[in-house]
């Protein structure tokens, strides 16, 4: 099975606006997802400078942007990616 890429932005804007919580994602994704998820910490992905996106912190799941990201939102998105 192809792995799900989860890129977490740890740029300053994302980190300040709540992205610091996303450090815990690795410990929270549970056994069922652990082997199929590829967590990639990133420096600023530049999304905060683009007016068309709504709100930091940002995470990219298989290239798709999750804004105002929380651990719950990201896990939800990962699960939807797997189901597809």
């Amino acid at each position: 099975m192809k792995k799900v890429d989860v890129e977490i932005c740890f740029g300053t804007t994302c980190f300040v606006m709540g992205g610091s919580h996303l450090q815990e994602l690795e410990n929270r994704i549970g056994k069922d997802l652990k082997d199929i998820v590829n967590i990639i910490p990133q420096n600023c992905m530049g999304l905060c400078k683009d007016e068309k996106y709504n709100q930091a912190p940002y995470v990219r799941v298989n290239g798709q942007i999750v804004d105002a990201a929380t651990i719950e939102k990201v896990i939800d998105k990962i699960k939807r990616e797997i189901d597809e």
Binding site: G11, T13, F15, M17, S20, K49
Partner: protein
Amino acid sequence: MSNIKLTSNLNKEVLVKLIQAFESDNFPNSAHQIPFKMRPKHSDPQYRCCIHKERAAIRERVIAGLGFSVADDDQAKLLTEYAEEALKRTELSSEVLTAIDTACKGCVPVRIHVTDMCQGCVAQSCMISCKFGAIKIKNGRAVISADLCKNCGKCISACSYSAIARLRVPCEEVCPVQAISKNGLGVVEIDFERCISCGACVSGCPFGAIHERSQLVDILKAIKSDIPVVAMVAPALEGQFPESISKLATALIQAGFSHVIEAAEGADLTTAHEAAEYVERMGKGEPFMTTSCCAAYRELVTRLVPELEEYVSETPTPMHYTAEIAKERFPECITVFIGPCVAKRKEGLYDDYVDYVMSIEEMGSLFVARHIELSECEDYKFTVDSSSEAREFAITGGVSRAVSSAALKGTEVDSFCIDGMDKKMIALLKSFAKKGGCNQGNLIEVMACQGGCVGGSSILNPPKSATKKIKDYAAKGQTISKIPEDIHA
């Protein structure tokens, strides 16, 4: 539990908008527009019943962000006027916290509730247990009369079905000194005679209704002026970003500060003086000494537990020493202490060397507003390197470890830490004063926040991650030398 809640993100959003407004052509007008920009026409409410209510709460957050009291607000005054006043003021208010009326709503005055689990039993033990006659059985169910209930909770333990519950009021529960309560209208009020500015309510309220009265406008004004502005960064700052404190310092320079000093540099002086004072006091046969650098603890003693005063170290805090160094090193400068602590704001108001205090949230918001990216910053070269011990001042146990390693050879320091100052810990401290002794140690380190300053109310990084980073940084430093002979308590 993490101290960082979604409410703090909302607050930071407001602070970012406020900084951007300050930088706009017309600050008062831009400040006035913040609630409307954040909740534009036809947008959906995010937390409340409607955008109008959310705008009202945002408006009050802006008032706090401009440094004013929301309790004194009559709701008719425009944010434009507040912004103009903030620009003009030359002095700061003596109160550092304010409660946001509109945000405070979630908790009802009556705390005891009969839940659906009530079986309408024959024993009626709840009714019998109530000394105030507040419980009646109606239609086979217990009903509590709000007028008579005194919230004593006897019925809760009396019910065999655990069907009666107490609704918690988080701010009241976390306040260690009963300085916060709901008034007759069900809105929160702070008793400033009792408040020790520990910030527990700021982290504790799930509605984010308790705010610091920010000095942001005053600091931004100073940065814009020709006078050099020195940022003094608390040891807790090392743990706040994935990047090092030296990159953070460069980011502060980019944000407009002229120089950056680690408060850990001042902490080294605190350590040396406090160790000398400890040795002297124990030599005189005193039973114990407590540390003095936690500003909330200092406030507690001054306001509410004067009997502890004689045991508190008289050594000045790292913030004080650092500000003194800054004023000497950079004559005529304006000093700004940056840390996670509400009580330091209070301490700063009393300290002649400290001009302003900025929270970590405010600093973070400044980076966001100015698009400053820490990973792209160079390393800053601090004039003086801090010691390993000073770097750990932000973690519980760090201060007493520093004093131990600086104490004279042959001195056995027996330390005991108060890790988080709740009601129980205050009672314990009082008992030491009453007995005139402490059987747990003779150097008592008091940290109002659990885990130390890394658990402060305006942190950006969870304490666990911050602690690890600080320890790594400390490991890279040099150990503090033993007390230099010219330092006496």
